[in-house]
Every structure is written in C-alpha cells, then in structure tokens.
C-alpha cells in the first residue's frame, strides 16, 4: 500500500532520514520506535507531505506521490496526526474536527462518532482548541485525522500527554480501526503497548531503519538492543 524507496530527508545540510526503505501492506499495523531524535517524525512528516523528500521515491496505492501535495495525499486516504498536535487553536473543537472532513472521503467517521470515542471532548466542543488541556488537544487531533476516513492512518506520539484512562480509550478506538482493516503506523514510546498493538515493529536509529520485524518474532530486549548504542551513551551522559 505504501512503499518508500531510499528516502532521504534533510533539514538544510543535515540528513535527518537517510536512505530509508519501507513497505507497508494493506491492513498492517506498524509501530515505529526509536530514540529521541532518531528521525521518526521527520520520516512520517515526509510521508504525509509536510516535508519535501530530498531523494528517493514514495508511492501509495501504486501511485507515485513523492512530490504530491499533502492535501492530495489526504485525498487518497493518507492521514497524519502530527507530533505536537498542531490544532487550529483559535477555532473550536468542532470546527477543528469539521476541517478534517474537508476531503469528504466515504466512511463512517463523523462528528458523532468522534465524540462517542472521546467523550471528554463533548462538553468542550464549542471551546477554542487553544484553551484545551494537553490531553484534550491530543484527542481532538486524532479525531480530526479520523474525520477524513483514512486508509492509512499515521499517528506520531499517540499517547503523549494523555492520561492513562484516555490512552486506553484511544487505543481501544484505534484497535477498532485496526480490526476494521485500517492500515496504521504509529510512534509509541511505551514499548509494551506498542508491541501489544502492532503486528510489526520498525526501529530507527540516527535516520536509518535498524530493525524491521514482526512483533511476534521479536521481544523487548531485541528492540531496546536495536537502539542500544545511542541509549548507552545517553544514559551515561545524563548520569
């Protein structure tokens, strides 16, 4: 469904993603893991079209989208919940959600269903998104992405800043999506959760993919190992 070949993404001179190749099949769920600064967000943003791809090729549903605009990618069913939420803070929750419906793809996500999934948003639905708590914002961001009924949903740092209860709710709802056959890529730092949720784990280190396995075939230890080198020095540095 999504195929990346040799992707390179740069900030000026700095290569944040280096020659990454990744195949995602229809219906897969992938957990993207990696240390802080490994390039996960950069890769995902490049896939969603928020960052230009420096070299390499990206295709989605057999169409090359390397240089397509991000809105066209949404149109084809690719949707990103960006890191840091990026809500339209001066607009209400409801308006934020409705904006997710700009590309009116067929599907059963609508306002009611989002509010069912995130009941904590209901009483704030007419509040400006900027005045929400961090968790409320995260929920709104996910809801907004769902409104476009994506075929491939990419979630960067899904549970960041969410209370355990809401994390459960979020996972419950993306599990439903997963079970309904939506393809999902997510970045999740809570390894147990990631492994439990995703069928496949992809681990990045310094802009490269260093591990790509089915979660069934791997374990916590191997994954931590995969970015161990960096980890060790970080631990030392910090102590």
């Amino acid at each position: 469904m999504l195929s990346a070949k040799n992707l390179d993404v740069r900030y000026g001179q700095f290569r944040a993603v280096r020659g990454v190749s990744l195949e995602v099949k229809q219906g897969e769920t992938i957990a993207l893991i990696g240390a802080n600064g490994a390039g996960k967000s950069t890769l995902l943003r490049a896939i969603a079209g928020a960052l230009p791809i420096y070299s390499g090729e990206l295709s989605f549903k057999h169409k090359v989208i390397t240089h397509a605009a991000s809105c066209d990618r949404v149109k084809q069913g690719l949707s990103l919940v960006p890191e840091g939420r990026r809500l339209f803070t001066e607009m209400t929750i409801e308006e934020n959600l409705l904006l997710g419906k700009t590309i009116n793809r067929a599907g059963d996500w609508d306002l009611d269903r989002v509010f069912d999934t995130f009941p904590n948003l209901v009483k704030r639905r007419h509040a400006k998104a900027g005045s929400l708590s961090g968790g409320e914002q995260q929920a709104t961001a996910i809801g907004r992405a769902l409104m476009s009924n994506p075929e491939l949903l990419i979630l960067d740092e899904v549970s960041l800043g969410l209370s355990p209860l809401v994390v459960d709710q979020v996972y419950a709802s993306i599990e439903k999506l997963r079970d309904a056959g939506t393809t999902i890529i997510l970045v999740e730092q809570a390894l147990d959760r990631a492994i439990a949720f995703a069928k496949r784990a992809v681990c990045m280190l310094e802009g490269r993919i260093v591990l790509d396995k089915l979660t069934a075939d791997t374990n916590r230890h191997e994954i931590t190992e995969a970015y161990f080198g960096l980890q060790q020095s970080a631990t030392q540095e910090a102590s």
């Binding site: 928020a50 605009a69 809105c71 949404v74 149109k75 990103l80 990026r86 339209f88 904006l99 590309i103």
Partner: protein
C-alpha cells in the same frame, strides 16, 4: 449636533468599507498588509481608466475591476505573501511596506501627478442628497454605508458558517497543518487574498467616488483603515464596522472641540481603545470574579 452625528455615521460607513479588506487580511489571514492603501488607490485608478476610456458608469467598471483585483490578490499571495509569511509575523509587514512604495511610484509613473476622481462620471450623484426631517443626507454616503454593511455581513457569514470560511481560517493559522488535514492550502490562501482584494476594489471605487485620489493618496487611507480595524477589535468583522463608525464619531467630536482636532480625535480614540483593551481585559475578569465571589479584588500580573 444631530447632523454631525449622522454625517459621522455616514463617514464611518466609508471607513468600515476601506477597513474591511485590511481587517480581513489582518484578522483572518494574519497578514498586516501595509500596501492596503496603495492597492485601494490602484483599484481606483483602474476603475477610473476603464470608466474614462469606455464611458461606462463607474459602477459597471467596478464590476469589471473586481475580477482584476481578485487576480491581483491571487498573484500577490502566490508571488509575495506566501513566501513572506513563512518568515514569521514581521516579514509580511516589511514586504508589503516595500510593495506600497513600488505601487505608489509606479502609479505616479503611469498616471502622472493629476488628481483624479470618479465623481464626475456619475453626474450629480456624488453630491445629491435626501432631505429627511431637516437633515441633509448625501445619497452617495448612504450607498457606501449600505455597501459596507453588505460586504462586511457577507464576509462574516462566509467566514463563520461555510466550509470555505473555515478552511480560510485554518489555512491562515497554519498552512502546513491545513495541508495535512486535506486542505489545498495554496489554493485557499490564494482565494482569501483574492477575496480581500475584491473588497479593496470596492473600497477603492468608493474612495474614488466620494473624494479625489492621486498616486500617493494611499497612506492616510491605510491609517484610517487600521484605526477602524483595531478599534473594532480582533473579534469579528462586524467589530470593524463599528470601529469605523466610532472612529468617525471621534473625529467629529475632535473637530467640534478644536478645529484642528479632527485627526487627533481619531488618533486619541484609537489609542484609548488600544490601551483600554489591555487594561480593562484584565480587570474584566477580576470584576466578574469580584461580583461572583464577593472577595477582594485580585490584581492580575503581567505575563
């Protein structure tokens, strides 16, 4: 006295009209367009040129000019503002400032020094008036006031209740994220600029009908437009309408107090509103609290 008030309200309608394009860009697109006045003059010149060359009524010419202004707006967005707004809030200010210098002088180069007006093309309309209860109410100012209401009301409805309006606001706020939710940000930004410039086209025509203009007449228009916008507050476009009227009334009051007080009156009300908003807003919350909780007044800190 009453007459002065009526005249001020009519003048306020004009200020509101000239301000609404600026306010639209300021509030919605988050661009401070210092070329606003110059663009209004540009549109007035185009209307004048068409009217003069083809012997149309200026109102007809305006209809021709609206698409031209829309195109100018679209180009402005694509060529200049798109890049400039990536560089933060300040850059568009500086860029449009430069642009206004370019426009003014190109207009001068092309149209020369003569003062122009559209009034001579509408017969006596520019100075005809209705007599109501002993008050003389100019026809043209009434038309301009009504136009302001229609334009502002229309824009307000568009922004608040249509998907396009939502997309415009979202794009202005964060074009990158707008793209991620499926909005064609470049297109929408282009459309916003085009809409803004169409209102500038309308206000340029109004300017040409009610007064005279020359290539360098943009700056005072810009200042009036700004004052109306800021007095009206950042809440909604309707604020701008009342901002225009308040500005005009303040000017009239200023002129009553001292003959040189016309402009000063406007400036003072502008500054008063600016500061009242800073200081009262804080008090506002505490006041509400004060009434509700019956505790002592709590001072709010600057932050």
């Amino acid at each position: 006295m009453i007459n002065s008030l009526v005249q001020a309200i009519l003048l306020g309608g004009y200020y509101a009209l000239i301000a609404c394009g600026l306010a639209f860009m300021f509030q919605v697109m988050r661009i401070i367009n210092l070329a606003h006045g110059s663009l209004a003059i540009l549109s007035a010149y185009i209307v004048w040129r068409i009217t003069d060359a083809l012997a149309f009524s200026p109102f007809v010419s305006m209809l021709i000019v609206l698409p031209i202004m829309a195109l100018i707006g679209w180009l402005l967005q694509r060529v200049i503002l798109e890049r400039a707004s990536k560089g933060g809030e300040l850059l568009p200010v500086l860029t449009t400032f430069g642009l206004s210098i370019v426009i003014d002088n190109l207009l001068f180069q092309h149209f020369g020094a003569n003062t122009r007006s559209l009034a001579s093309y509408v017969g006596d309309l520019s100075w005809e008036s209705y007599e109501v209860f002993g008050l003389w109410i100019g026809k043209l100012p009434v038309i301009i006031l009504c136009t302001a209401i229609v334009v502002i009301g229309g824009l307000d409805l568009l922004l608040r209740f249509t998907p396009l309006g939502r997309q415009i606001r979202a794009t202005a706020f964060d074009p990158e994220t707008a793209g991620l939710v499926g909005i064609d940000a470049r297109k929408i930004a282009g459309i916003s600029a085009a809409i803004a410039m169409m209102t500038v086209g309308i206000s340029g025509t109004a300017l040409g009908l009610r007064g005279t203009f020359d290539a360098y007449a943009g700056a005072p228009q810009l200042l009036f437009a700004f004052e109306a916008t800021i007095i009206g507050g950042a809440g909604s476009l309707w604020g701008v309408f009342f901002g225009g009227i308040i500005l005009a009334i303040a000017q009239s009051v200023g002129a009553l107090i001292h003959p040189q007080g016309f402009l000063l009156g406007g400036h003072f009300i502008f500054l008063t509103f600016l500061f009242a908003r800073i200081y009262l807003n804080r008090d506002f919350f505490t006041l509400r609290h004060w009434l509700g909780k019956k505790t002592t007044k709590v001072e709010q800190h600057e932050n």
